[in-house]
């Protein structure tokens, strides 16, 4: 599947905005993603390896709740991560 990364997440992927990974679920793909971009791991995942709730995940443009990341994913699927962080 292809991960699309944008905005404030790009610095943790060496500014790659599209990253192809293997994996048959979104969750498995995320593990591959943080393996390929180690700086992203503590940003994207908490100490238990779960996606932090500040991130929003979209599978082919449709919002995917964080408790449904075990959803099957195909090679042509696109997973986008939006991290809407703002100042105080």
């Amino acid at each position: 599947m292809k991960f699309r990364v944008s905005g404030n997440m790009l610095r943790f992927t060496n500014f790659q905005d599209e990253i192809e990974v293997a994996g048959d679920t979104v969750e498995a793909g995320m593990q591959m993603l943080v393996g390929a971009c180690p700086q992203l791991r503590p940003i994207l995942l908490d100490g238990n390896g779960k996606v932090r709730s500040v991130h929003r995940v979209f599978l082919n443009g449709a919002a995917l709740p964080l408790d449904q990341l075990s959803e099957k994913a195909k090679a042509k699927d696109e997973v986008s991560i939006l991290t809407a962080l703002a100042g105080g």
Partner: protein
């Protein structure tokens, strides 16, 4: 259908608007309004006594449960109340701080920790303790250099937060820092009189009675019970900012209505070429533009208040809340420019009220995410939605 239409429609239900005037009108007119200009000139914060009085009147815990001294009202009702206070209060710092303190109290209550509720949320809901929220430090949230270090059974906080609204009078600060142990963002509660805490004024161009300050932490020792959030403080902090994006537009819309009325009244009393300015087409078009800004903002705010009253919303980052801040503050900024375009000198001189309103409204751009930041995120989301629709069609 022959039905008459009021041009400046009210946002709030009549019963709530009446309640606000009855319960809080005298406080605003007698205690807040008289010192507004002086506080603005001198960047003097609203006093602790003023916020305590607001607490006695029920304004510091309007939508937290009565069991801890709040009013137990809904978030939507609080939005309407903030709007009316935004309209009535000459000092924009009042609704700003009421909204800000209320959310802080609510977050502490929702922690569910009895020790924190008793020590912090309960007195805050009654105005007996004043809070401040320390997130910004001049860099993105992944690069905080304010750190928390564990030393034995305690923790040590170092760094600084700039700015913190209410810093000059707050008793307690909710501070977000990077854990040296885990590198994760954590949230701690710091008290003003903790050794190593220093508060320095940090005034903005507007909202000058809001007690903005820079708060420095030098080896501030904290017991473990002051750790509010041990992990994923990034998400926790966004809950506070998310709520700001609805409450701020509520009271800002009140300020816009007031500015609109003041401006039109001024124009109606100015004569050029033997005509009141309000009879000139250029001015009429400008008034029309401002009216569109006020009225579309009212429609957006009302719709979102109705939604939060009946539906679930995303507690961390809710697109309609971000849209509300984006739309209303964009309209407010455009209105500021229009007011200055059509009022000439009256729009810039201190002897008139307009420049103070303009400075206050201008300061709302960066709070809880700049318009540009919010619009980037909304743009990414809406583009993804369109792409998805096209993919389904093809």
């Amino acid at each position: 259908m022959g039905r008459s239409h009021r041009m400046l429609n009210p946002l709030s239900p009549d019963t709530l608007a009446t309640e606000v005037r009855r319960r809080f009108g005298d406080f605003i007119a007698q205690r807040i309004d008289p010192g507004t200009v002086e506080r603005d000139r001198m960047a003097t914060p609203l006093t602790r006594e003023m916020l305590q009085e607001a607490g006695r009147l029920g304004l510091m815990g309007f939508n937290v449960p009565e069991s801890i001294g709040g009013q137990g009202r809904s978030w939507a009702e609080w939005g309407y109340v903030l709007h009316e206070i935004g309209y009535l209060s000459e000092d924009a710092a009042l609704p700003m701080l009421l909204a800000y303190c209320g959310t802080l109290t609510k977050l502490l209550y929702e922690s569910g920790r009895e020790d924190l509720i008793d020590r912090y949320a309960r007195p805050m809901a009654q105005g007996k303790r004043i809070g401040g929220f320390g997130w910004s430090e001049g860099r993105d949230a992944f690069s905080f250099i304010t750190t928390l270090r564990r030393t034995g059974s305690d923790y040590v906080l170092n760094g600084q937060k700039i700015p913190i609204a209410n810093a000059l009078i707050a008793d307690t600060f909710m501070i977000f820092a990077r854990s040296e142990e885990t590198s994760d963002v954590v949230a701690v509660l710091v008290e003003r009189d903790d050794p190593g805490v220093e508060v320095v004024p940090f005034s903005a161009m507007g909202l000058r009675a809001s007690g903005m300050g820079r708060v420095l932490f030098k080896d501030v020792r904290l017991p473990p019970e002051r750790v509010l959030v041990e992990a994923d403080g990034l998400s926790y902090g966004q809950r506070f900012l998310n709520e700001r994006r609805l409450e701020m537009p509520c009271w800002a819309l009140g300020r816009m209505r007031r500015l609109f009325e003041l401006c039109v009244h001024e124009l109606a009393n100015r004569v050029r070429f033997k005509l009141p300015l309000t009879e000139m087409q250029t001015i009429q078009a400008a008034i029309g533009r401002m009216y569109v800004g006020v009225e579309t903002s009212r429609i957006v705010v009302k719709s979102v208040l109705e939604r939060v009253a009946t539906e679930e919303y995303d507690a961390l980052w809710d697109p309609p809340l971000a849209l509300t801040k984006s739309h209303v503050i964009e309209q407010a900024l455009q209105m500021c420019r229009t007011v200055q375009d059509i009022l000439g000198g009256a729009g810039v001189f201190e002897d008139y009220p307009f420049e103070r309103h303009i400075r206050d409204l201008t300061c709302l751009n960066p709070i809880a995410g700049t318009l540009a930041t919010l619009q980037v995120d909304l743009g990414i989301l809406s583009a993804a939605e369109v792409e998805r629709a096209y993919r389904h069609q093809s």
